[in-house]
Point group: none
Chain length 219, copies 4
């Protein structure tokens, strides 16, 4: 990985107006599945190509190299998450509502696309430093930043307790959320009832716990 073999100039980006080629999408989606199953390092380009039903070399037609492929996968996933977070942040409602909204959103996505979430959870921010040169870390920081801002706003409004730094709060929230999803993914957290309701139950409990931990005294 990251063997800087030939820092080719052209970023291989399609002209901004052209629609994204169908096969590029196929590769990207296949990559998500394969990464989810074997992890970034455990999979070969050949695996992705096969899963996408395209030829070996085509991957290199659309992506500079393996790293860029990973970056693209992450970028796409994070873009969705970030957009949602931003929408929630800028939307109406109290800080508590917004935090609950974030928890709910992630768990809902997990209900419909557990694989994608799994990749985000298990691979992001777990890859060696070298990889950290792309856009991934900034994006990760952004996510923390948004939640952090929501918390700060809540504190200033007197709704949330002020003795906890927003960054620490945001980190704790995301951590609890992430580990809960991991628990679901791994099968550790497995409440009674049909799958759908299981997740809803977990969502309610997590929400209650997190909000109680942040609520300003007397509220």
């Amino acid at each position: 990985m990251t063997s800087p073999r030939s820092p080719r100039a052209s970023p291989r980006r399609l002209p901004p107006d052209a629609p994204e080629p169908e096969k590029r999408r196929a590769i990207l989606h296949a990559a998500v599945r394969v990464f989810a199953e074997k992890g970034y390092h455990g999979c070969r380009i050949a695996d992705v190509a096969r899963a996408a039903g395209v030829a070996y070399g085509l991957v290199y037609h659309y992506f500079q190299n393996k790293d860029e492929l990973l970056e693209s996968v992450f970028a796409e996933q994070w873009a969705i998450l970030l957009a949602a977070l931003k929408a929630i942040q800028e939307g109406p409602g109290s800080a508590s509502d917004k935090i609950a909204g974030v928890l709910g959103f992630v768990l809902d996505v997990f209900k419909t696309a557990p694989t994608a979430v799994r990749v985000l959870i298990l691979e992001v921010a777990r890859t060696p430093k070298v990889l950290r040169s792309g856009s991934t870390p900034e994006t990760f920081f952004s996510a923390i930043g948004i939640i952090s801002d929501v918390v700060k706003a809540g504190q200033e409004a007197g709704e949330l307790r002020s003795d906890i730094e927003p960054v620490v709060a945001a980190t704790g929230i995301l951590g609890a959320l992430e580990m809960t999803v991991t628990g679901l993914v791994v099968g550790l957290v497995r409440p009674a009832g049909p799958p759908e309701e299981q997740i809803d139950a977990v969502k309610r409990q997590l929400e209650a716990m997190v909000l109680a931990g942040l609520r300003a005294p007397g509220r």
Copy 2:
């Protein structure tokens, strides 16, 4: 052709009474450092050998292969953590005290041995499922189990709220803790003041937040 080479008779395990060879320790410690720096996949056996100051082949004298080396590293680290968790669980004090104790322990270890924690955090439980065939997953489950038991005891004593399943609570606690440590590792969480006090501050805030989230109403 390769005659199946009778599946390696000696499990390469030292007799249980013999003291651990000095060089074995050296390799294990070196592995922690190298994994921390480059990640499991990013490092070569040669790196570990060099860092340990031993010959290449000696690694294979003490460990079956790269995987077993990783397993051993994890096993050792987890053993320490689990022992501490158990000691806290069986010790005196209320459920809140014990939970605070767990948070404090992990953050204290981080203060003195951030490298080891980093390996545990960034590499463990982030490797594809298949890998989970060793002792790692059970150990991870054990950790969750212990915290979960502490929570349950607290609930039965009326000290902690009962509307949250112990497993969900335990997962949330560990998640918040882990992400906080990650934040410290990555440099995201970076409160003012000298390093020592920074961590103490984070510890206090995390503790307050977590306990408030679990406290039974009216307490």
Copy 3:
């Protein structure tokens, strides 16, 4: 950690209709030469690749591993021999004619391609049992079987003596043939005259001896 890496999906076998790639042939032929010179264990894949004039990795593109390469070499050589034996068996002539035909065929092949014969002689059927898991042993048994059938037919026709079990006879015939070729290969058997005639002389003598040993009394 090595995710089990789904057992190599493609058996690396070309579709039965496609013509064999030129380079695959080149590798196979080079392998024969190199095995002949250094023996299976004494040669490296690098040697074969160099002798074939192809890149290192291409060997692994066409063959699973070193063992499979050896198997392929053997399979090819044996296939030729077996086909010839079968043709002789099913052709016209008495049992004696057919046995003489077999002796002649092998020694003729040796005249034109001593290298290939050398590989077959020195490497085949001399490798530990375990190795025998491929197709080699069955093929070897087939060869014995064919000769054995020829002998049996000759016995039933009253042409050959009946007090010797066909299998024993076949084994003796092939053994004498093989050792003779080995003697020629090693330079032990070295009659006077130019090479061509040397071999012919040996052929006549071997034939006379073998047939006299099998002839039915009174013929």
Copy 4:
């Protein structure tokens, strides 16, 4: 193999009067068993040491290196065979008697020590050229030579046919014998009856065939 790492001067030979150390014998015998099972290249010094019940390094105390160990094994086995051949040659009886004696001797040895024969059969004269620098090939030639002399004597006495060169005859005889033993080893040749008698039956048939092939016309 044969990496001429340090052509140490001392041949590691014990003083000619001293009795052979018990452990040296143990190693030699273990080597025979292990070679028989896995072949020369398929076995490790560790295998031999373990089979002999001695420590790793002791093998190197008694033998220069792996090659010398193989040489010693062969030398010992061949010495037995050669001594027997010579005894037969110099003993009384006609050429036919002597040839029958050779066949009988080898098959008898096989009855009592099939393993040792197997090593001689399957490993000797099948090892890459490089190894041929020791005493092995000469010994092999000697065996052929002795039989060859017996044949020649028989020809001069008018007992055996003269139209076959003694070397060719000797090669054929040994080849038939060797392949027959191989057949027994591999389980290909498997006549009816209890094991003991099976071998005797094979012996009689082989003898009849070989002698008929060599007898002078009119005898």
